[in-house]
Every structure is written in C-alpha cells, then in structure tokens.
Subunit: 132 residues, 4 copies
C-alpha cells in the first residue's frame, strides 16, 4: 500500500537559508503521487488525456521537522489514506537516511476538464481498487 | 491587524490544468508575510541580516476553493494569528475580486543561522508588539 | 517603445548562494512581456483564449552581471527588438536602482493550440503594429 | 567527456500551454551539471562547503526545438566545452527518446562566498583536470 520515490535535492530548490524552500515539498508530494499511481498500473497523465479525469488538490498540509540540503538523497513514502465517491487522500513522509524530514497529506477532488466534479467511472474505480 | 498584498498570476505559476499550481500558494503566503512585516516597520531581511533571527516554516496548510488563472489579479490578506516564546502563526486568505480562492496558515519557529531555537530578544519582541 | 515592470525579489527566488537563482530571470522576462503587451492594449491571455495564438519561447539568452538579493526592488525594461511573419524578439534589462543586474532576450514563434506555426492574422498584426 | 542525467517531467514544470515552461530547462541544466561533476569524482557541494568556491552562472542560452510534456522521460547530455583561469563553459542537449528537444549552454565564473573572483586553486584544478 506504500510507494517509494527517490531523488536528489536540486540547487534550485534551496533558498538563502541554505535549506530546501518549504513550497517545494508540495512539488515532491506530486512527484511521489505520480509514481504511486504508476506502480499500481495507472498513469495519471492517461487519466487526464484518455478519461478526462483530473485530480486537483483541494487541501494540503505539511509539517517540516528537519531541513534538507542541496544534493541530499530524498525518499518520499506515499500512502493511500482514504477515498470517497468524489475525494481521495494521500499521506507522505519525506526522509533522508534514517531521519524523517517532513510529513504531510493532500486531499483531491475528481473533476473533468471543465472543472466540474465527476463521479469516478467504474473503469477508473477498478484502477483504484488495487489501492484500497 | 491585517495586511494586503496584490499582484498578478504569472504564466510560470500555471500548470497544464490551466490554473495556478498548488505549491505556488505557499510562495504567495511568503510574499504576503514580507509585506505584512514591512507595513509594521519590520524588514524581514534585517531580522536575518542584523538580528541573526530566522523564521522557517514548521507547518503549512492550504485549502484550495476556487482555481486562479494566468493574469488574474490576486489579493492576499494576511493576519497575525498567535505567537508564543518560540512560535508565530499567520493566516492567509487569497482572493480575486469578491471570490475567496484559497485560505491557509503557516506556523514558524524562531531560530538562529545555525538552526538553533532562539528566545525572541526583547528588541525584536518590541518590533512584534505592534502586531499583537 | 519600452515598457517597465517593477516588483520585489521573493524569498522563494533565492538559492543557497544567497542571491536570485538564475532560472528566475526568465520568469521575470515573461512577467515583463505580459505587461509590455498590456501597455500596448494587448492582453496576452486573450491572444490565447480568443485568437488561438500562442507565443512559445524558441530561444532565450541571459547575461548575469550583478546578483540580486531577497527583497530588492527590481525593474525590468522590455524592448521590442524585431518581428517577422512568424517570429518576434524581445530584449530585457533587469536593474535595481542605477545598477544593471542582467540583460537578455527571447525569441518567440507564433503557433496555434495544436502547436502548428500560424501566420499572424491581420487582426493581430494590427495589435502589434503599435509596437513596431 | 559526456555525462547523462535522466528524470521525468514533473507536473509542476508544465504551464497552461500543456508543455514544460521554458525556465525549467535552466534548472535541468543545473541538475545535469551536478551529476556531471559527481561522475568525475567532484561533489559540487564540497566545492562550496570545503573549498569556498562557487560557480555562479554568468551567461545562459537555450534553444527550444520541440516541447516536452508531463511524465516524459527526459535525458540531459552534458559536455564540458571550455575553461579558462576564471571561466568554465558547459553544453547541454535535452532529449526524449530519439528526439532532441532543446540545446543550450551556460558559462560560469569562479568566485568565493563573498562574490570575489578566485583563481582556481591547484587542488581544484586537479579535480577538473579529468574533465579537460
């Protein structure tokens, strides 16, 4: 039920405090979500392109416990937390070695390209069923 | 007790959904904080440069209610929420015209350049006293 | 023939060198282009939304002469450099006070939403004619 | 003499045109430089931390030939182009499969933490000698 994504901190992601700027953790959550889907056989881009289903973030939360630095090897663990007919929630843990640097979560809506909420079609529901 | 910051959505801030990417709201919160301080006679950069005091974000939250688009005129209202000996909290409301597009908050620690928690010195406390 | 855009350096735009990260200058060029168009009565977003005309960057160049810091007041001067049937070029100068911090240029193609080159329609050509 | 870096396009890197925003290529150049150094036994962060040597970009250029999309697998080839006593130049080619999507280059100065030009010390020169 968990997925793991690994990458190095980019220079661009640091700020003048010498550590990763806080908004970048949300970008990493998204990178981790993409891989979470892929590991379960779902390509998020196909949801958009072929199913006309989008998963915009409706809420985000992050707790920053220990700063990360340029070139650190970062691991993001992603966990499926819950899903309803029109909502889905993921939890994330950002770590480097044995240390947990941040934890967070995002909640998402299911909408179509016009921004209207959609009920998750059975075809897509089946793709998610492996997650639950 | 409130501060208002206004700017336009940059093309760079949009994503392929055609709306502002969710991590950018945290960047806007930070822009709004800087102006919040300035309006109260405190330049945040001087806190860092002259007082050796840094205010890293330790928690962030955002609820996205209605998407924003390229070139939209955005207003961020910033409100001082609470402060302790070593913590401070701000609340934000992001709007465009009459519509509230997002709300959120950030919590901050007071640390020095070495990352160690600092008790807010009286000189700085006085600067903040106008906020409370 | 020149346009001027002004803003402050965001904390997010700095890196661990303590100055503005180099890719952000290209973002500023784009912010300045938007304002350049607006001052001439053209809203770039309407070009996309109403005329189905897009101006992707096909070449970019920047020379970084003097670093910029967080909270610096930055001015970008934008100049229309040249235009052909399917290309347009802008020149930029980024300064802070009397100092020129960077200069650069971008070249753009005219394409439609499908990515195909378009001849600039007379209606749009007329909008640009005030520039030349 | 060449180095190869591979990653996937992040959602955050797209814009409302549905393709990668142009400034992100410069961020990728930097990611590729870091790996270029590492493959030659040089950790760029150690240059900064232990040798007090910084390599800020003094010029950048990019030609965008074919757009990249979210989730595309991107390869950046990095080539050492030339070096003088106080300058170094890298060339980049960004591709996806057989297609070259962009080419570019960056020129860098050698400075210390105070921003003053430094002559490359012999110790560091030796690290670079494997490149030439």
């Amino acid at each position: 039920m968990e997925s793991t994504t690994e990458f190095r901190v980019r220079y661009a992601e640091t700020d003048q405090m010498g550590v990763v700027y806080y908004a970048n953790y949300l970008i990493w959550f998204e990178v981790a979500r993409t891989e979470f889907f892929r590991e379960r056989g779902v390509e998020y881009k196909k949801l958009e392109d072929e199913e006309n289903i989008y998963l915009p973030v409706v809420e985000s939360y992050c707790r920053y416990k220990s700063p990360l630095k340029y070139d650190d090897v970062v691991t993001v663990h992603t966990k499926f937390a819950s899903a309803g007919a029109s909502r889905i929630m993921f939890e994330y843990s950002v770590s480097s070695g044995d240390k947990v640097n941040a934890i967070g979560w995002t909640k998402h809506a299911f909408i179509d390209a016009q921004g209207k909420p959609v009920k998750v079609p059975s075809k897509v529901r089946k793709m998610f069923s492996g997650i639950k």
